[in-house]
């Protein structure tokens, strides 16, 4: 028997339905933010300063990278790329929750990828998200299947935009925060996925924030290809993690502070304007434009 399965809804997790209720009850324009995190084995690399490490004079290859095996000296806490990332994500969520402007506008989802992609946190209004949910992110296999992470992220973003639009809410441009610490294992598929992301970015349908977590020059080169402006945030040392996420949070605040049709395009290199909380709104005309107009 053939059934018309189109438009018959579907099956979703409890978190999805919670978000559906939030969406139709709170009509505020949303900024869908998908955080796509690499959880391959290399995210277990230590970030501790060298004076806190004991070198074991052994080396090997993990996740396609040549590594030296080390362990943390007794008395020091082990800080891995992943643990640091979890910490700053928790901080960012906490800050965003307490920001009046963002609290009901930002909707966040966390996708992790290694061999497969997993939706760790379904899209949830930031004010309803479990602040400590990033702490549950676990390391996966020794593979960086980037294409799977990207495809799932785009799929979830599309789903969220559709949900928002069906509820008659206005939407800001979706944001993809993509974090990786190495080159993809699935090179051909990863390049195809990268092209899709870049195309969306070029068409102005997606804001991409690529973040390199000590990815090295090859990894950074690949990440640069994701965004139209070929820019990449770098997180190489402990302080970088905090700075980058503080800046991302500020950019989200600035986006949410304007009507969605007047959304500005974040320029990674430009830095955050110090007079963000002001009467500045929209775009200002340049002196050249004015001169041309007055003499037209």
């Amino acid at each position: 028997m053939a059934y018309d399965k189109i438009n018959m809804g579907g099956a979703y997790t409890e978190e999805y339905f919670d978000q559906y209720n939030n969406t139709i009850n709170n009509g505020e324009a949303r900024i869908p933010i998908c955080i796509c995190v690499d959880t391959s084995r290399s995210m277990h690399f230590l970030l501790n300063p060298s004076e806190q490490l004991i070198y074991k004079n052994q080396s090997g290859v993990v996740d396609g990278q040549q590594v030296n095996y080390v362990e943390v000296k007794p008395g020091y806490k082990e800080i891995t790329k992943l643990s640091r990332l979890q910490e700053v994500l928790c901080n960012m969520f906490s800050n965003m929750k307490h920001d009046d402007v963002i609290s009901k506008s930002a909707v966040v989802c966390i996708i992790t990828f290694n061999q497969f992609a997993d939706c760790y946190v379904e899209f949830t209004d930031i004010n309803k998200i479990d602040t400590y949910s990033p702490n549950r992110i676990q390391l996966g296999k020794d593979i960086t299947n980037v294409s799977k992470g990207i495809r799932m992220s785009l799929e979830r973003l599309d789903q969220q935009v559709a949900m928002n639009s069906n509820a008659g809410n206005d939407s800001y441009k979706p944001v993809l925060i993509f974090m990786s610490d190495g080159v993809p294992s699935d090179s051909t598929e990863a390049d195809k996925a990268k092209d899709i992301v870049r195309q969306r970015s070029e068409e102005g349908k997606l804001n991409v924030i690529p973040i390199s977590i000590g990815a090295g020059s090859n990894g950074e080169y690949w990440l640069k290809g994701l965004s139209r402006k070929s820019r990449v945030y770098r997180m190489n040392c402990l302080q970088d993690f905090e700075d980058v996420f503080a800046e991302i949070k500020e950019r989200i605040h600035m986006t949410a502070a304007v009507v969605s049709t007047d959304e500005y395009e974040p320029d990674i290199d430009a830095g955050i304007p110090k007079d963000a909380d002001s009467s500045a709104y929209g775009k200002a005309r340049s002196e050249d434009d004015l001169d041309k107009f007055l003499n037209s």
Partner: protein
């Protein structure tokens, strides 16, 4: 050249016709109103309403003799369609003699309305009606076809096109009370003003009388200036940054100061300020307080936090406060150019501050800021322009919409098009009339819209492509919007539906004769069109609940997560299960289905849970049936084949491999044993 053709008497308010019709008023027109240029527009906009409200519009038969040919033909059509009724009065040739007849038409106080553009006729009627103790309301038509309450001034009598042109010509003469609206830019060469040091906190600046003013504390940042509090109470100073200091801004500020502009909450320049060398650096202005509009009212969370006790009436009051300031600006021929919501600060519903006034369009000085939200479609994409009131009326319509529906945009953004193109496309997101079918969106916005009855016609026709008010010259003026908001505000004093008072209503507006049905899931009552036809009789689930979580679920066998079906899917399953006995329940979730790996044999991507020993089901089947080798039967001596599957089985069970007997002999041996 002055463009203002929209003169309004101070204190007169534009009244939406629907308001009068709803209150069962009877409108009697005289020849001066019918001959007015606005009459055609009035009928164009309200013709349908007039036809539907039979018995509301009257015209005495002697009036038709005084009409122009054009007005006469329009009136004939209107009488034929039943929109206008003729008062047949024999031997009566003027309104004064008509009073006894009109008196019989309505005995209820305030029910009679007289529409005349002749001040003398209105006055004569007033006297005659007073004698008879009849209460009558007076209106006249303005040139835009809006109904304005009160009596007209003499110059509003029968404004023909010719008269209007002569008025425009008169507008070229300088008017000390207000600016001109110009369509050509000022001829200024923009040159930077070089300043050794831009004054900042703690430094002194000097006003035009060379009196010192100390800059105390930064109050407002703008991309081109900083506004400081000063040592003078209630005086702030806006100091431009060096990048923005030029001859243009200096000339603009000085032009602004050439007219007396004062209105509560309007932070208009009081005087310019100079540095120690006498160079222009900025101006002083009244202080401003409150939160930017887009961060206070346009954001639900902030609105509820800053004004927790507000209801729709308060929102109307705020809208009126804002619109009255804009009306004052328009009366002075000052235009925004582009409304900057961050420069409208809300302290409370009666206290609103308009800052950054130096960005307004003053005569040939254009606004230097630009945003997409408030730019009229005809100017989208232009970098700088000098707009007219009719262009600005679009921005005002957007502003009123975003205040009445806090923060919502009046157009649908098409994901496949740019924002500008989406706006030009003119797809208004809400229905008007009976165009809602079964697709009413499950949304707080849809409910909110249903409560905005007096606005629906105007919003729809302003924003929808092809709407009656789409063209700039047809757009509603600020006065007209004030009238509509005031009417709505008055309606909210005794609302038909208490839900109308809520800022975020939970269901549609319920009229006196409307039937609402209760949803079996949420228990909220909604109109019939908010239920899916397919499930109305048996299940009665509203559109809000149809896509919500049902109790039906399944647990994915691969990841162990529990998934719930939407009510729609659940109802579909129930229907299909009753029709199809082969219906199978879902085993795996969509996410797990998408986690694929290549089969080690055929290389095809398959869900990881379906792979066994790295192979897909069909490759495993093939492998099981593949021949491993051949052996000779111990009993019959025949050669028989041994499959890979048999080999795996023997190894798994610890049997002898390869088997010593063929399949037939094994069967025989088993049978003999028994």
């Amino acid at each position: 050249m002055e463009q203002n053709t929209n003169k309004e008497n101070k204190g007169n308010v534009k009244v939406p016709l629907i308001a009068l019709i709803k209150k069962q008023r009877k409108l009697i027109f005289d020849s001066s109103s019918l001959n007015n240029v606005g009459f055609e527009k009035f009928i164009e906009r309200n013709g349908k309403l007039a036809r539907n409200s039979r018995g509301a519009f009257f015209i005495p038969n002697f009036v038709s003799d005084l009409l122009t040919e054009k007005s006469k033909s329009i009136l004939q059509e209107l009488v034929a369609s039943g929109a206008f009724r003729t008062i047949n009065c024999q031997n009566v040739t003027n309104f004064t003699n008509l009073v006894p007849l009109i008196k019989e038409m309505s005995k209820e106080r305030g029910q009679l309305c007289f529409v005349s553009n002749s001040a003398s006729v209105s006055k004569a009627i007033l006297i005659a009606f007073k004698k008879e103790s009849i209460f009558v309301q007076f209106f006249f038509l303005d040139n835009n076809g809006d109904l304005v309450s009160g009596m007209p001034k003499d110059n509003q009598n029968s404004q023909t096109t010719k008269n209007q042109n002569s008025r425009n010509d008169a507008g070229n003469k300088p008017n000390p009370d207000r600016f001109f609206i110009k369509d050509v830019p000022e001829r200024i060469t923009v040159r930077p003003i070089n300043i050794t040091q831009i004054p900042n906190r703690g430094m002194l600046v000097y006003n035009s009388k060379h009196e010192p003013i100390k800059l105390i504390e930064e109050k407002i940042y703008h991309h081109n200036a900083i506004t400081y509090s000063t040592n003078i109470p209630n005086v702030w100073a806006k100091i431009f940054k060096s990048s923005a200091l030029n001859t243009f801004i200096e000339a603009k500020v000085k032009r602004m100061l050439s007219h007396n502009v004062q209105f509560k909450g309007l932070c208009w320049p009081i005087d310019f300020v100079q540095d120690t060398n006498g160079q222009f650096v900025g101006f002083i202005l009244p202080p401003a307080f409150g939160e930017p509009l887009q961060l206070s009212v346009f954001k639900q969370a902030r609105l509820q936090k800053l004004f927790p006790n507000w209801n729709k009436k308060d929102l109307c009051d705020l809208t009126i406060t804002i619109l009255q300031t804009i009306q004052y600006l328009h009366s002075k021929n000052i235009l925004f150019g582009c409304i900057n919501p961050a420069a409208i600060r809300i302290k409370n519903k009666d206290e609103v501050y308009f800052i950054e006034t130096d960005n307004y369009q003053i005569e040939g000085f254009p606004s230097l800021i630009y945003n997409t939200t408030f730019t009229p479609p005809e100017y989208l994409g232009r970098k700088i322009y000098l707009c007219k009131k009719e262009n600005e009326n679009y921005a005002i319509a957007v502003l009123v919409f975003m205040l009445m529906m806090p923060g919502k945009l009046p157009y649908t953004i098409n994901p496949n098009k740019s924002i500008e193109d989406s706006i030009r496309e003119g797809r208004f997101p809400f229905p008007f009339g009976n165009v809602h079918g079964n697709h009413a969106m499950p949304s707080v916005w849809r409910f909110m819209w249903s409560h905005l009855t007096p606005f629906k016609d105007v919003f729809y026709n302003t924003f929808q492509k092809g709407g009656k008010l789409e063209h700039p010259e047809d757009r509603k003026s600020v006065g007209s919007w004030i009238g509509t908001v005031k009417y709505f505000r008055e309606e909210l004093e005794s609302p038909n539906d208490i839900e109308s008072l809520k800022l975020y209503p939970q269901t549609f507006k319920k009229g006196k004769n409307d039937t609402f049905y209760t949803c079996r899931i949420c228990g909220v009552s909604h109109p019939r069109f908010y239920f899916d036809n397919r499930y109305f009789d048996n299940y009665r689930v509203c559109n809000s609940c149809i896509d919500k979580k049902s109790n039906a679920s399944f647990t994915c066998r691969a990841c162990g997560k529990t998934y719930y079906y939407t009510n729609k899917t659940d109802l579909f399953h129930k229907t299909m299960k009753s029709l199809d006995s082969d219906w199978k329940d879902q085993k795996f979730c969509k996410d797990c289905k998408s986690k694929t790996l290549p089969c080690s044999d055929c290389g095809e991507e398959k869900p990881y849970y379906s792979l066994k020993d790295g192979r897909c089901a069909s490759c495993n089947e093939k492998r099981r049936n593949a021949i491993w080798g051949y052996a000779y039967c111990k009993d019959c001596g025949c050669q028989f084949s041994v499959t890979e599957g048999e080999r795996d089985f023997a190894i798994q069970k610890g049997f002898t491999f390869p088997p010593v007997r063929c399949k037939n002999c094994r069967e025989k041996k088993k049978t003999n044993k028994w």
